[in-house]
Symmetry: C2
Subunit: 768 residues, 2 copies
Amino acid sequence: MNQNYILSNEWSIIEEGFDKSRVKSSESLFSIGNGAMGQRANFEEDYTGDTFQGSYIAGVYYPDKTRVGWWKNGYPEYFAKVLNAPNWIGIHVKINDEVLDLASCKEVKNFRRELNMKEGWLLRTFEAVLQNGVEISVSAKRLLSLDIDEVGAIEYSIIPLSESVAIEFSPYLDAGITNEDSNWDDKFWEILDVTSTNNQAYIHSHTMKTEFHVCTFMESQLFLENEKINIPTTEFVSKTKALHTYKIEVSKDQKATLYKFAGYTVDRNHKKEELLLAAKSVLVKVLTLGFEELLKLQKKAWRKIWDMADITIEGDVQAQQGIRFNIFQLNQTYLGTDARLNIGPKGFTGEKYGGSTYWDTEAYCLPFYMATKDQNVAKSLLEYRYNHLEKAIENAEKLGFSNGAALYPMVTMNGEECHNEWEITFQEIHRNAAIAFAIFNYYRYTGDYSYIPEKGLEVLIGIARFWYQRATYSTDKNKYVILGVTGPNEYENNINNNWYTNYSAQWCINYTMENIKKIKNDFSVDYNRIMAKVSLTDNEISKWKRIADNMYFPYSQEHKVFLQQDGFLDKEQITVSELDKSQRPINQKWSWDRILRSPYIKQADVLQGFYFFEEDFTQRELEQHFDFYEPFTVHESSLSPCVHSIQAAKLNRMEQAYEFYLRTSRLDLDDYNKEVEEGLHITSMAGTWMSIVEGFGGMRVKNNTLSFAPKIPKEWQAFSFKVNFRNQILKVNISHDKTIFELGNGEELKLIVNEQEIMVTPNNLTAV
Amino acid sequence: MNQNYILSNEWSIIEEGFDKSRVKSSESLFSIGNGAMGQRANFEEDYTGDTFQGSYIAGVYYPDKTRVGWWKNGYPEYFAKVLNAPNWIGIHVKINDEVLDLASCKEVKNFRRELNMKEGWLLRTFEAVLQNGVEISVSAKRLLSLDIDEVGAIEYSIIPLSESVAIEFSPYLDAGITNEDSNWDDKFWEILDVTSTNNQAYIHSHTMKTEFHVCTFMESQLFLENEKINIPTTEFVSKTKALHTYKIEVSKDQKATLYKFAGYTVDRNHKKEELLLAAKSVLVKVLTLGFEELLKLQKKAWRKIWDMADITIEGDVQAQQGIRFNIFQLNQTYLGTDARLNIGPKGFTGEKYGGSTYWDTEAYCLPFYMATKDQNVAKSLLEYRYNHLEKAIENAEKLGFSNGAALYPMVTMNGEECHNEWEITFQEIHRNAAIAFAIFNYYRYTGDYSYIPEKGLEVLIGIARFWYQRATYSTDKNKYVILGVTGPNEYENNINNNWYTNYSAQWCINYTMENIKKIKNDFSVDYNRIMAKVSLTDNEISKWKRIADNMYFPYSQEHKVFLQQDGFLDKEQITVSELDKSQRPINQKWSWDRILRSPYIKQADVLQGFYFFEEDFTQRELEQHFDFYEPFTVHESSLSPCVHSIQAAKLNRMEQAYEFYLRTSRLDLDDYNKEVEEGLHITSMAGTWMSIVEGFGGMRVKNNTLSFAPKIPKEWQAFSFKVNFRNQILKVNISHDKTIFELGNGEELKLIVNEQEIMVTPNNLTAV
């Protein structure tokens, strides 16, 4: 770990003391969001120190020109950028005409931040001695409402400690913002209108090219102690900014509070000519409620989320804080209420990685949302890809595929590919399999088959066609091979016969054929509709089958393992533990060619296959492969330790499993990868959840039945989690001597615990 | 071929008729240069049509910021750009106050350009009817002096054909120029001073970052018929431009001529505070000589070059024109007078590829310069790399190598790498072998061993150390393998055991060891100096030897060929002739992944090895490999057909050899690759020379003896060439029934012709 200034606390993220060098890290760690928008924990008042300003609106992006050395055919024309949106949190503060700025204060005392995850608010308190000698106490509380997801609220209070002072609050909206990440200094936003009337201000702007229209709005109220003060406001507007100024004389020890209500209305939810009207109506609603009422609603909304999603860990506060931080951030990022949205790798906490959707969604996030939300949320995630099917077909066509073959993009906002390293964009094609696997996984977990005849089968057919066309017949091997790919381990590029890719390609074809047969038999109306649409013949299917039946899998007789790729054994077989620590992380220390010819694995690759297709292999095989590959794995992807944690738990290697768990759950809190300043690793947070539920809990679904193989790290006294399995809420509490199941609703539920069948009934504790 | 508007002519490149769509192509084809500077054939007068302006100064470049998707460790910080330099050819022309501009004339008649290769000048003549109805005849002749290589001269004549007119000539210098190729809209030039006095103008500017200082200068003279006219000149200077205006009344059918002398003095040759002085002194010299005298000197200088370098072909004007165009352009680009310069792939004809030096120099250009110039020229090319050895060691260190291992850059201006595609920069390491091979080749051809103890051995040791460190021991194969490379065939990336790379790595180590031994025995002073410098021990050498002795070479028993790389036989074995023509060229039609997994070969790869190391293989083996690889070769590199032509000739496949010859010699004239607008393929032009001398002439050096195996395409009556072999000038004339040798100097020369030894003596024709 690289930082550990976050105080241990079961429910809150807390920082004490002001340290300029930590400001950017804390801006990431204390980020807040409500699924529709989110923001880094930037200060409301001016701050001239080093900062990374960020406020983001779900689904609003910019197609920036791509940046490449040499253009290659098939590259996308743009790279989607997560866009910094107009700033609505800003409040210029002046005390006796001096600007409050923590970077230039004489002294900052008792600085403290708390991100209260239980209730969903951010509080910052401090005392400051200004250059003019005035000492004040400040408290700034902020939330993004889960109930009214277009608005946020700030309670900004100042108490003069040294003398009576004149305080000037100037809440503002500022659309003159920039991106940290910008290739060509393009303008991202065009401002159409800045207006201010009756204490309210609005900025109507739209993104360039993508034409997303956004109305940023605000209204503020001034209180002295608990009394609302109606003083005349100075309203000011410029081309990019609207600002209201409230001046008030405040006696020593009196409290002046500015309440600011602000946010965005966007044309995804409203007609663009009605954005201002919608904003007005939001302001009416929240002004009527007031800050305290909004906070109460917020607590209630989070209580509801936690009630289902919480994981408790007894006896290990760091582990407890870690898992809650992960669950909290996932829920801040995506709540599953809009099938047009998805889960960006950095959520609303930074700009890095652009785009919103990676295979992370299907491979890592889906299980979390399936188990902790209504099953419609998971279905929304599947539908997102169904809605992009045509674009995936176009994407494959750009690369020379035909006949409806679909290649889903590596990174996307709207279904189009927007990443352009050839070794990733063109070659990391295993992402296609994750999308098919998610369909299987959804059905396996929810038991809801309806999605497949309705929509999923078309996706599966496009994917099967892709694999069929992508395979090559090798006369030399008398088998079908898949050449020139990048597997999940991105530390190998343009390799041949990546076992994970070949195996999952075969699986995709077989699973598609199985579903075609089933739908032909059981859903003839859907079958006829789909076949008419995709023009699929038995002859084509038999060609797929030939490839699936004759797929080549590289295997080492000597090591008794499938090989990551054809050339893996030519590499120097030096394990990570034999590698000098000064060489780590290799992605920061080594040139790319050195990484590529090394045996080091960035994230689970063959083992990812053993995770997805666990049932196809014996425990002995898992052990052989884990023992072979784990020693070469450097876990330099945030997505890596969770899979290894689950498998270590399965192999009863609890110390290793626990170590991997800590690494995944506190990746950002302890800044393992030295990059938390850039934002949080949102998608890998779902992997943390998996390492508890699937790893320690050993939860699986087999034959429509939930099974468990509970294990507990020696550091813990007990841990518990809840899952929604087919609309039945099951709570599982695992301690060293027993596991207690509690069914919250429904009739009864058959479980398999350590291969023994048990029945649990509602509101009874069943101990095993 | 895509264009064939160039008229067939043995000594000139001629275009007739004005076609706006051909302007950019002709600007490339009619380029002129003198080794120190060069320029595209842009018009002197204004032209508002589509044009690509380019004037280039040898060794003057700009380190542009690199443009990449994702940064990788070891990438260079910049990409060197060939820089468009201030324009000195410009002459604004007004006829009765109307600007002469071929894009807007009412009519352009009898437009003709001639690039006279024999004498080294460019002539453009045309008649134009202006919008104002005036008809004029224009003749513009231009040369870049070989004798005074800082200057060029223009003779620009106008004859009014329809009536008497007022003509205004405004010759100018313009430093407000831009590059076509610019990543970040950076400013490349800073202008320090623009001055104009006494009919002379100077612009002192320097490049940003690299700080190359250049003085661009001009002086003009006006003549009416043959009489110099001394009329007052208007002198004008702005921040970027200096302009002199000469106005004259010219009667119908009288000729007004402006002579403009202009050029660059650069701080590679002068102190930067003396650039203006140097320019003045050049102007004195050329004004004293005058245009006609300068032209005479030019003819004489080119006569001297042609006397040695010319190749005659009887009975095939197209082939004759092709080879002379190639020889002419090579000499325009590089004359070998300055070891700090090298041969850029586009010479002075365009911006593409940036940088000046690729492995092209060693692999393709060296033989031409060795045979047609004094051997010091070839030695200069070797010294260029010796002077960059330290940078090559630093370059290897950036990639994690140590102990003096040297990796020469793929593209360079000053010894530093300036290309950044990882698959090229980090992986196309075979370039290192070409640099070692050139040392061997130089000694083989010139017999001058002195370079190796003096400088070459240090280069060889750096290269051997690189290969030693770059190889990996494969326990699986019990051999040393070289993983993760790109071979000469850039249509495969990150492959393992590229036969060409492995073979030449082995060769480099063996050749280095052989020379260490020889220098230890015969040059003990040098030996001790070098060993002290590089700290080489016998133990280290024995480790190199272990690798060279145990290098792995992929081989197919079935096909009896070495395999291009480990995975070659897994590729679909569909030959180029079976490929639909609509798919060609694949680099324009296919996405990169499709190219990578195809069997198609961009340029000779295994066959490049059979070219370099010809003596290691039998004719039968050559045939097997040629028959295996030729059918997969798409020749989408300009460097490809020449090697195949030489090998086809060796295999007595004269039709194929002739076809490859035409393709290489008229690549640009007939615009085979649809890109001549961007500039000419200078370095591959040396390959054309090789296809005649080494291909049809069958010239080799074995055991210090020149040997020939003459062959002649049926389309030709005879062809001849001269070579300088160890300071003896031998002329070879090959016809269908005999070959005639003529030795120009020296004592006598032993030759081997078709494996028979003969003796030739000076000034006697020896027919075989």
